[in-house]
Symmetry: C2
């Protein structure tokens, strides 16, 4: 992974340094330079190498994926009225909303500019880009709704998060000339990993160490955010006739006792259930890798990356 | 023109009718259905036919141009805090800002989805799409600046308005296999027409008949919008040592006497100068058409459209 990450870092730095001056471009360079894992472009390069090509061949496609991802961050932060991202002001907080809208738009155009004109890559990219928009739309709808089911939540996460990991891998594979069957396997691996990754995120909010995550423990719970944990917790409570979570949600966010909510999730068995679900999703995803590479030699790095993502503490 | 317009109208209606349900897509259909001239897609079809191909071959590219144009309208209306477009509520007024951001994003992705994968068309589209963003960026910057020069204004209009007309024509020409030289000519025609079209817009604001335009006479002047007329008017005033425009601009918008400002523009010779400039730009543009088609037979419809746009009263 480090080799691929270093390759990509150099590529994105060259690209950022070549941007024209002005407020249309400066927010792009600013957002790209915030500390981040750069998982998606790394996956593109690794998939390209896995199927026998030089990962450098996929640098522009990896860049397109990363530009697209950052475009969604720029606009999602406006929609969520978020003032901080990775501990730094968001683009609309640092500049203003109009600049964040317009610079995001231009960033999406630039993603297409570097993506190239391979018809198959374009169609995978377009399809997944639209799915990411549909996922964000669902996410906003869920905030307005009183009840969201676990299956709906999973579909939202699939669209909003998992499909882009899937597209990142598939595009790297296409670039290397992988067979359709192998493309489907690597895409399924990505989707499963994306679901596991997001569920791990939900777990970290409630059960992570705030000194490591850098976030308030249970921030999502306090805000009543309909995550896997809260949705499932309320389901189990309904079955059992208990109401610790529901009672806390009846208060305003500032009046909620987050420690009580976390305790309730533990007692309801939801923490354990979520951990099992992460392992199940990751296991199924890794099986897809096994179908591509039965000996495991060529996929060792991808496996290690996958495991580091689902075991991560921050 | 009517044939091309009818072809396109049927295509866009089919496309809109096939959109999935939900708030991600409904704003697209809503905006596309507002009464509009649909100049850009019509130009794409006409250019395709001019260079010897069936205009139906360029329907998807014309749709891509129209989707892109409507995406910019959706986002520009947010940035300009505009509540009305063509007499109807803007998307963010009808739904909300977040929906307008996200539906606009998805509309841009869908523009690419229908554009196809011709590398040359993609590169023309990408370049011009980025220029349109740069034009909107300049437009917003100019609002914050005390002084804007005529050359800067022209460059802003070129980027924000003229290049998309140019791209619409060029893409139609590429689709028909036109030579590079002919592509450059039709693109130059489009750019000149776009500049003339926008200057005609500025003239109609001050000197048009509000009963025909449907807008408050001198609305741009009241708002101190830095149009060609106001920029040039202030220049001439400075040279002459007069100050009617400047005096009015010293008041708040609600206290400005628009009739005095319109009179001043007439007396300073700016109305006449702008009319000459429209004719000059249109004349140069039409010369480019003459280079493509010396007898004028094949370009009669394009010429008629161009003349109707610069002579229009609304």
């Amino acid at each position: 992974m480090n080799v691929h990450r270093a390759l990509f870092d150099a590529h994105v730095e060259r690209w950022s340094a070549a941007l024209p001056a002005g407020d249309l471009y400066a927010p792009m360079a600013y957002l790209l330079a915030l500390p981040g894992k750069r998982i998606r472009p790394t996956l593109t390069l690794m998939a390209c190498e896995l199927f026998g090509a030089d990962p450098r061949n996929a640098l522009d496609q990896a860049l397109a994926i990363e530009l697209f991802h950052n475009f969604t961050l720029m606009h999602d932060d406006i929609m969520d009225a978020a003032s901080l991202r990775r501990g730094r002001p968001t683009v609309h907080a640092q500049w203003n909303v109009n600049t964040a809208i317009l610079s995001g738009d231009a960033m999406l155009v630039m993603a297409y500019s570097v993506l190239g004109s391979d018809p198959y890559i374009l169609s995978v990219f377009n399809q997944h880009a639209l799915e990411v928009c549909a996922g964000q739309q669902l996410d906003m709808e869920f905030e307005q709704r009183a009840e969201v089911g676990l299956a709906e939540y999973r579909e939202m996460i699939r669209l909003k998060t998992a499909v882009l990991l899937s597209a990142a891998l598939r595009i790297g594979a296409i670039k290397a000339g992988a067979t359709e069957a192998d493309q489907q396997r690597i895409a399924a691996f990505g989707e499963g990993m994306g679901l596991a990754f997001q569920l791990r995120d939900d777990l970290l909010d409630a059960f992570g160490d705030p000194a490591v995550t850098g976030k308030e423990q249970g921030g999502d719970l306090r805000n009543g955010k309909k995550t896997w944990l809260l949705i499932r917790g309320l389901e189990v409570e309904r079955d059992r006739g208990s109401s610790a979570l529901r009672d806390q949600l009846a208060h305003e966010p500032s009046g909620r006792d987050v420690a009580v909510m976390i305790m309730a999730l533990r007692e309801l068995g939801v923490e354990q259930e979520a951990q099992q679900e992460v392992r199940r999703l990751a296991g199924t995803a890794l099986e897809e890798l096994g179908r591509i590479d039965p000996t495991g030699d060529r996929t060792a790095a991808l496996r290690a990356l996958a495991i580091s993502l689902i075991d991560r503490a921050a």
